[in-house]
Amino acid sequence: MPTNSLSRRKFLQLSSLSGTALCLGYYFPLSADAAQILNASAEAAETEIELNAWISINTSGKVTIFSHRAEMGQGAFQAIPQIVAEELAVVLKEVNILFAPGDNRKYGSQITGGSSTVRSSYKNLLKLGATAREMLTEAASTKWGVSKTDCYAEAGHIIHRPTGRKFHYGELVVEASKLKVPENITLKPRSAYQLIGKPLKRQDTPLKTNGAAIFGLDKRIPGMLYASVERNPRLRGKVKSFDDTAARKVPGVKDVFLVKMKVFNTDREGIAVVANSTWAAFQGRKALKVEWDDSGFEHVNSEDIFRQHKEILETREGISFRKTGDPDPILKQGGQKIDALYQTPYQAHACMEPLNCIAHYQGDKLEIWGPIQGPDWVQDYLSEEMGLKRENVIVNMTFLGGGFGRKAFMDYPYEATLISKQIGGPVQVVWTREDDLNQGPFRPGVSYRCEGMVANGEISAFKVRMAGQNIDHFSDDKRGEANSSATEGFLESYFAHLKNVSFADVPFETPIPIMWWRSVYASTNGFAFESFLDELALAAGKDPLEFRRVHLQEERLQQLINKLEAVSGWKSRKKNEGYGTAITECFGSYAGYVVKVSRNAENKVQIDQVWAVMDCGWYVNPDTIRAQVEGSVIMALGAATIHEVTFKDGLAEANNFYTYHMPRITDAPLVEIHVMENEADAGGVGEPGLPPFAPALTNAIFDLTGKRIRNLPFDLTSV
């Protein structure tokens, strides 16, 4: 078992249940080369070696692989074991997969964000699996007294090639665990992969077709109560007073009290209603009479925010983020100049599973269960806030019913902890859909002023200024610096070609809580950059795809453009069809789209088909990539054409799905997906497919109608 600091007695108890286990793992923050594998058996546990384990094998041969990252739909629960199992040579469906608890001393960063699960850990995971396999092979060859080179690993067994004799891993694990950890492990060449690169079935799917998967909201702890918190609906508002007489009379309600916490550099206040069922807690909330204190902060309105963006973009240069050459003198010359303002709205994450968390505070110890994207962050944060030893804060991940960035924040586990502390027992704190949508944090709305010039069929100057809230400001010391994501989404290859290009951030502050939202600034930047690229291409009299081919000289992008052109029939488009393209880069991957639109019988614009080409280099599971692109199209379509969060007098107007409409199956277009094959390192998969969809769509609409859409969201049916 991989639990650290196991006492001898505990370990022996476990051993008697499951046999002796071999545990292997890396100290993760180290580079792959310096990674040190630790191994342990019963003897090792006596010496209290801290284990850092992804793999556990018991003497009956059962293999357990730990997922140190969250499963929120993106496929980590499949990808991590698929990588380890490849080099470990085990049958994936016979492997037990468990979520590792939060502990970055053991696992390195566990934050499931930035599409980083595979790309940041695959090299280590491969080496980890291979090392275990080598040690098992050596144990077998020693037992048989044969040469190691005559032995090979397959399907959880070491086989002696000349004689066909075999041991299952469980028969070797005790001996293997006593061996010196080998160095200079040889990894399989990609051509020899049997699992990696194959569209293997997800291991979590059967759990998700019969209700067996346990999401945060499904977790139950003995003696657990339920709570829900009536927070000031006005962002950053406080509680003046409240009357809980009626709430306490609701059958099932056990307790009502004020919860105060620091969140987003400010106080958040609400009234917690604790009850014996979720519904009783909700009913209790409805019976509360609360007088809110809405003073002391700005009551924002959406129109004001976007008007201010426009004003500062017209009058200020902002903080330079990146500059090559100088576009300003060129833009002052005569010529084909375009000066355009793009605006993108605030959005909510709207995970299907509303926020929730179980906390059990026990004085010197705290245990958390929930849908959590960063269990190590929660561990660090809560141990500090609650004054507990880090190892006494145990953070357990469940399956996440969506995450998209929202469940990477620590506010809801913290709030659950405070409520558990107050009532002295375990409690599940449940957010309503309304809480989930109107409390934030939100994707920031961002405006972009894009200025450009074309000469001789190419871009001679390209200047972008952004204005919008900066997520970097979670850390106060980042104030005064440009948004570090000012070019996120913009292909690096453009910089190699463009002579005069600049990106700047015109700082803008407002008290709306903000947070990463799938693909972060690339989701808004990408729309502005790739729409503007289209405008420049057309100003230059060039075909938009050809224009990109000229400006993006990198081989992988040339291949991606060729692929897009070939699969979409870009060159053989018919009359009355609009074609648009966009290509963006984020989190180490390239994604390109072609969208085809036309007018239907009612003269409304409809999306006929979407072609997506994803280049994420080395990859684990092509079907997961397809699924992520399919999902990205829908999420991007929603954010571009269906929903936005607006604010009025400091209140988010999004409330439930009746005001924050979601794309439904009736909105889902036909999507064809192609995954590029090359030797590049792994890039991200969960997010990079999102940013180019909206600009490819609006570029297609321009192609069809001549109407340039510069503000999102827009109504597809009224173009």
């Binding site: 409330n655 439930n656 799905f657 009746y658 005001t659 409409h661 439904r664 009736t666």
Partner: protein, 216 residues
């Protein structure tokens, strides 16, 4: 939308000082089925005058009826398409439930899957009635987009009104689902007339001859 409707209606609504020659010339024949004098049960019409044809009074009464029928509470379930409408602005029902053959929805999207026997408490929550449904596919009884003239004719035409006889038509004002319009659930405005006013105007329209306002 609501405001727009009111403004439009002003053109139709008879004003005390105005005469109605157009209406008189536009009288329509009353259906044979409607000549019966038998009063429907459950409807108190004792205060009404004896049935006597009077196109001006009938049309006047219908224009009141029309205001109600075109209000979101009635029109939302009598749409021109096969998807019901929602809200004060009569937008398409968000998840686009279909009428279905019997007017009770299709597959997993049957009306009663969300609409309970009573209103679900809370803003934006599904309003309810034990008999919640739309007109069936073979008798759509569309209100949306109908002029007063069209709607009046449609209402008295058995082939378009659900094969209702005059008695049944009179009784319709007391139908539980119709009455439910005056208990629309939180956040929804009831029709512009009270239920009593509506019933009175409805009965009066029919009893005075069920005349249709002039085609504009």
């Amino acid at each position: 939308m609501q405001q727009l409707l009111t403004i439009k209606l002003r053109h139709f609504l008879p004003n005390k000082t105005v005469t109605f020659p157009a209406f008189i010339f536009a009288v329509i024949a009353l259906m044979a089925a409607m000549s019966s004098t038998k009063e429907p049960s459950g409807l108190d019409t004792s205060s009404l005058e004896k049935p006597r044809k009077d196109s001006i009074e009938s049309v006047k009464a219908f224009m009141q009826v029309y205001q109600v029928l075109m209000s979101p509470r009635c029109m939302n379930c009598h749409p021109s398409g096969d998807v019901p409408l929602q809200g004060e602005d009569s937008h398409l029902h968000a998840m686009q439930p279909q009428r279905g053959k019997d007017g009770r929805g299709l597959y997993a999207m049957k009306c009663a899957n969300c609409h309970q026997a009573a209103n679900t408490p809370g803003l934006h929550m599904p309003p309810g009635n034990p008999n919640w449904h739309m007109p069936p596919a073979d008798m759509k009884m569309v209100f949306q987009g109908r002029t007063p003239h069209q709607l009046a004719k449609q209402l008295i035409h058995p082939a378009q009104n659900g094969h209702k006889s005059r008695e049944q038509l009179l009784a319709h004002a007391a139908d539980a689902l119709v009455i439910a319009s005056w208990n629309p659930g939180e956040g929804r405005t009831p029709p512009p007339l009270s239920q009593e006013e509506f019933a009175k105007a409805w009965v009066k329209w029919i009893k005075k001859g069920a005349y249709a306002p002039a085609e504009k």
